[in-house]
């Protein structure tokens, strides 16, 4: 799989390729969490601008990646969702309620800058990272999604 993950400031930019096979999705998710750890990223930006089809597996990928990132102290932003993809997601009830969505990369960058957590003087209006609750349940879900082999640490 080509390199689709880049580090940009405190942001980990993931350009999700179109036509991902199911096992490639799991591989991508594993790489994302590995890179979050390596770069100490605060934000994971999933950019979907080249994705033009969508199914329920795709929604699960976003949700589970978001949960894993949360476990490691990062938050997920999605950007560049195409109109048709959004229409399908709404039809399928995939509303990504706890995930921030922005129009494109510009807005994503602006958003992450407005909401930095690694500055010494924190902006009071900035949202705080979610509390790490119910770790066991989250871990179980991760295990269910990626049973092939234990995650490298």
């Amino acid at each position: 799989m080509e390199t689709v993950i880049q580090k940009l400031e405190g942001l980990l930019l993931v350009s999700v390729p179109r036509d991902l096979m199911d096992d490639e999705v799991l591989l991508l998710r594993r790489q994302v969490v590995q890179d979050v750890r390596r770069h100490h990223s605060r934000w994971v930006l999933l950019d979907f601008s080249s994705v033009d089809i969508c199914d329920s597996f795709f929604g699960r990928f976003i949700q589970s990646t978001a949960k894993m990132a949360e476990l490691m102290g990062a938050r997920v932003i999605v950007s560049g969702l195409q109109d048709a993809v959004i229409e399908t997601m709404i039809e399928l009830g995939m509303t990504l309620d706890n995930i921030e969505a922005v129009l494109d990369l510009d807005d994503a960058l602006a958003f992450s800058r407005e909401n930095r957590h690694d500055v010494i003087v924190e902006d009071e209006s900035a949202p705080t990272p979610p509390a790490r609750t119910d770790l066991a349940a989250l871990w179980n879900e991760v295990e269910r999604d990626a049973p092939a082999k234990p995650m490298e640490t």
Partner: protein, 463 residues
């Protein structure tokens, strides 16, 4: 009282008169254009005239006299049948009648003859033989058969759904096949002019036993005589195509390689313009085209013309339908835009006033228009104004929820304004949970909230 001399003279006179009468009849019979022959009751031919020899291709009457009438019959069964028939005539003596029979000459050429016959009797009424008058009706019968075949072919074409369907290719295929079959030629083809009339292209060629092909081109400038003839003749009848003034240009390059000897070409006219030609090409010994065949060829050209008209009508109808569809689609788009207006009122702020009832189809249009608006205007905040929506029930609330979620995935926050007291009442009474949705009473306060969220501050000028 008459003397013996008188009697003798009278006899001489009578004999002379009889001789004259006999010579007159003899001459009449010998020179009659119909074949005449007599035969004995046993079938032996006792007399034939010259015309009979001509019809059956005998060299002289001597060849025939003494033979049996069934000797010319082609098979043993036919000979036996004629023997039986003759004995039936002798024994039963039916009324004389006219027979029309196919047969063959002594040299084997097939002919059709009509025979009128009668009995020859002696003074006591006993049958001594038969006299037969034979006419060669081959040409007439062939013309009749051709006319029948032709009218059947033309009738079939006139009734054919393929010819009038507007699908030119299969229509031409049917026409060329019918033409080749009816005219009994090896090659029958339809050629059509290009727009500039500089060349003709073979649109369909039917070759007997080979099937259909197409695509050969002939440049008009290479064959000036032929193309000039097409323009001012109703039909080109080339019995010998190698020497005919209109077709001899083809002799070396086209006719000789294909073994074509005779051509019967009818130009296709349409709306006063020559648009092509139907070519009938005969392979083998040269043949003489009959008037009936020429008439048939022009009828075939007319059928091609009507097939082309049908195709044009069909294309025109398709074009009209397409235009109509375009107009309808344009109107639909306008209507959609009118019913789902997205108004950018300030940097990154959109207002979408909703007017009229909202069903699931319209909710989809609204979502689609809103997503497009957000993308194009890079909007951060969307104000959905529901002042013009007469009833907000759980269905409408559901639709609006989906629209708001879609906008959020596109990166825009939604404020719903125009919640009247009546609507607020309904929403609460129906138990619709809109607590997660930002709602305000009117557009004005909605706008202030939107400005606030994108960081724009309104300030009054100091006077």
């Amino acid at each position: 009282m008459a003397t013996q001399d008188d009697l003798m003279r009278r006899i001489d006179e009578l004999e002379k008169a009889l001789g004259e009468s006999e010579r007159r009849y003899q001459s009449f019979v010998e020179n009659h254009p119909y074949g005449i022959h007599e035969n004995a009751p046993d079938g032996t031919i006792t007399y034939v005239n010259q015309a009979y020899c001509n019809i059956f291709e005998f060299d002289s009457p001597d060849q025939v006299v003494g033979t049996k009438i069934w000797d010319l019959m082609p098979t043993e069964e036919a000979k036996e049948w004629l023997r039986q028939h003759l004995s039936h005539l002798v024994n039963d003596q039916p009324e004389p009648a006219t027979d029309v029979n196919p047969g063959a000459t002594v040299k084997g050429k097939p002919i059709v003859v009509r025979i009128d016959w009668d009995y020859l009797r002696d003074a006591d009424g006993n049958i001594t033989g038969f006299i037969n008058v034979t006419a060669d009706v081959t040409t007439q019968k062939r013309a009749e058969a051709f006319l029948q075949e032709q009218s059947k072919t033309l009738g079939d074409l006139a009734k054919s759904e393929v010819v009038s369907s507007g699908e030119l290719k299969p229509a031409l295929g049917e026409v060329t096949e019918a033409s080749a079959r009816t005219l009994n030629v090896q090659r029958s083809s339809v050629w059509l002019y290009d727009e500039q009339q500089t060349k003709i292209t073979c649109a369909d060629l039917y070759e007997a036993g080979k099937g259909h092909s197409e695509g050969i081109e002939l440049i008009a400038a290479d064959y000036p005589g032929y193309f000039a003839a097409l323009k001012d003749k109703r039909i080109i009848t080339a019995n010998d195509a190698h020497t005919h003034p209109s077709t001899k240009e083809f002799s070396e390059s086209y006719l000789s390689p294909l073994g074509i000897s005779s051509m019967l070409d009818a130009p296709i006219w349409q709306a006063g313009k020559m648009v092509g030609v139907v070519c009938n090409e005969h392979v083998g010994p040269a043949r003489k085209w009959t008037l009936e065949e020429q008439g048939f060829a022009t009828s075939i050209a007319d059928f091609v013309s009507s097939a082309i008209s049908a195709q044009q009508r069909r294309q025109e109808a398709a074009e009209r339908a397409r235009l109509q569809q375009e107009v309808i689609e344009a109107q639909q788009r306008t209507l959609e835009e009118l019913s789902t207006p997205v108004i950018p009122i300030m940097d990154r702020i959109l207002v979408m006033p909703l007017i009229g009832s909202i069903d699931s189809l319209r909710a989809k249009d609204i979502t689609r228009a809103l997503l497009r608006g957000i993308r194009e205007q890079r909007a951060k905040v969307v104000i959905l104004d529901v002042t013009g929506v007469p009833i907000v029930d759980s269905g409408v609330a559901n639709h609006l929820n989906k629209t708001i979620q879609a906008a959020r995935l596109k990166g825009a926050r939604t404020i719903v304004t125009g919640i009247s007291d009546a609507v607020a009442e309904t929403i609460v009474d129906l138990g619709i949970d809109w607590s997660a949705i930002e709602t305000l009473s009117d557009l004005q306060t909605g706008l202030l909230a939107a400005l606030d969220s994108v960081g724009i501050v309104l300030a009054r000028k100091r006077s």
